[in-house]
């Protein structure tokens, strides 16, 4: 009886929270006329895929999609190449300043992005990095780097340093020790760090809206262009939105458990 009640309430809440997403997906299969029908038609009458084709035809949707992929994968992979050695260094070879460096890194993340907007805009403008994939990837890499270093650091610290030392005794170079011993042992941590950063980069909007226009615009910026009155086609907007959120929703669902740990740096267990 109690279980039936909590089940009912739980599902009601879950469906209410999920409703805007469900509604978007359903609307993406409606015709434009049906999409703005009032009272709203819950279920699509004809289930058309037309919107998905139209979104691509009218706007080169997939080039924006590709930009999102390049930016989020690029900034994550480059970031890991920089962050893994740094996290290794601080976790296994801590010096007197390590604690301060860690805190300083975290503090840069707490600085609001607007604090750096004007100079970065001016620099990008003068060197031609505005609306450029390299520029926006670089910004996201720097923006998420502190989180990557911190997450990897918290995962690395759980690995006994004896194991790394044993590898070293056997004559492994630092690079080999890192690639063959540390990374395989901390694979879940490395994977969830990457997933969290892909999510953060995929959804990042402040920099993409300020620094990209057409060429390098990822989905966050492209979707925002629908807010102008001439772009108001709700069924097409829904199709574009569905394609934009589904891949990252799947990534998020897969990594939900690690996400708590990652976002709170393990402070909540």
């Amino acid at each position: 009886m109690v279980r039936a009640a909590t089940t009912g309430l739980g599902w009601l809440v879950a469906l209410l929270l999920f409703f805007p997403i469900l509604w978007t997906v359903l609307t993406s299969f409606k015709t434009e006329v049906e999409a703005i029908a009032f009272p709203p038609a819950f279920w699509p009458e004809g289930w058309t895929l037309e919107n998905y084709f139209q979104v691509q035809e009218r706007s080169e949707y997939f080039s924006h999609f590709l930009n999102s992929v390049i930016i989020s994968l690029g900034s994550t992979i480059l970031g890991m190449m920089v962050a893994i050695p740094a996290a290794w260094s601080m976790a296994f070879q801590p010096g007197r300043g390590t604690r301060h460096v860690l805190m300083w890194m975290l503090s840069t993340k707490m600085m609001p992005a607007v604090g750096a907007l004007v100079p970065i805009f001016l620099i990008f403008k003068s060197v031609g990095l505005l609306d450029n994939l390299v520029g926006i990837t670089l910004i996201l890499l720097i923006g998420n780097l502190p989180i990557m270093v911190w997450m990897l650091y918290t995962y690395f610290r759980e690995i006994p340093s004896d194991i790394l030392e044993a590898a070293r005794m056997d004559g492994a170079t630092t690079l080999k020790e890192l690639v063959y011993v540390l990374l395989p042992m901390s694979l879940p941590g490395v994977a969830s760090t990457m997933l969290l950063n892909i999510i953060l980069a995929w959804n990042e909007s402040f920099w993409t809206l300020s620094l990209t226009a057409v060429k390098a615009a990822p989905l966050t910026a492209f979707i925002a262009s629908y807010s102008s009155p001439q772009g108001l086609f709700w069924a097409k907007l829904s199709a574009a939105s569905t394609l934009a959120i589904l891949p990252i929703l799947v990534v998020g669902w897969i990594s939900q458990k690690q996400l708590v740990r990652g976002l709170t740096f393990g402070a909540v267990k």
């Binding site: 600085m111 923006g143 402040f206 809206l209 939105s241 909540v268």
Partner: protein
Amino acid sequence: MAGYQMKRTARIALAPSVLLLIVGMIVPLATTLWLSFRFYNFMNPTLGGFAGLSNYEFFLTDPAFLQAIINTLLLVGGVLAITVIGGILLGLLFDQPMWGRGIARLLMIAPFFVMPTVSALVWKNMLMHPGYGIFAWIAMKLGLPPVEWLSNYPLLSIILIVAWQWLPFATLIFLTALQSLDHEQQEAARMDGAGPFDRFIYIILPHLGRAITVVILIETIFILAIFAEIFVTTSGGPGYASTNLPYLIYVQALMQFDVGAASAGAIIAVVLANIVAIFAIRLAGRNLTA
């Protein structure tokens, strides 16, 4: 000498991260500080030179500034109130045994992964639209006139949108914390005759203390910087009714081209965020590296 060698390798391994962060964050911040004391306007290239505190004066005495500060704080406070209280309640709910709990949880956390520009547009056009939106339809069913959400209650609307995105995050954190609760202690309290309310106040709430702090800190940092939701839905309006600090600085810099004033505003935003960050760093320092 192996130790020395190792230290050197460790320093080399750390260097790229430190350099990137200095070049990418500290240099722009220092430049912003410098620009905030200069006359600099794209529209008026002849103007230049040292401005003293006049940019700060201009920014601080602008009526939009006070409004933006108030809006920024209301946005943070409102979203925090909804997500912390709602998150605790939902955490308790989803901690209970129920059929299909795994799937219900997945549906519940989904809003957290929706990109801000999408959620803003969906809420604006398909939920809050006074002519075609779901809310208008619900109002009609109840025999009420439809509400013009974004023009009549712009800040409240944005608070609702942002709270929808962050409620799942808070719930997820509280749920995780609840799972580490000692069930024997709960059981013992029940045996001693403690009702559900007493158990909540004396056992569950203290146990959630750290999780609440973490949720408040993380959300504050992100919500102080909310931008896309405002950019897409109201453009800060009507008037400045829904302009927060980041949006005001964006408008000043990239739409009114007043780099000097925008820089002064940015420094003020940084100071504001740092007041919050001091607490965050202290907590992080105590909890994470001890």
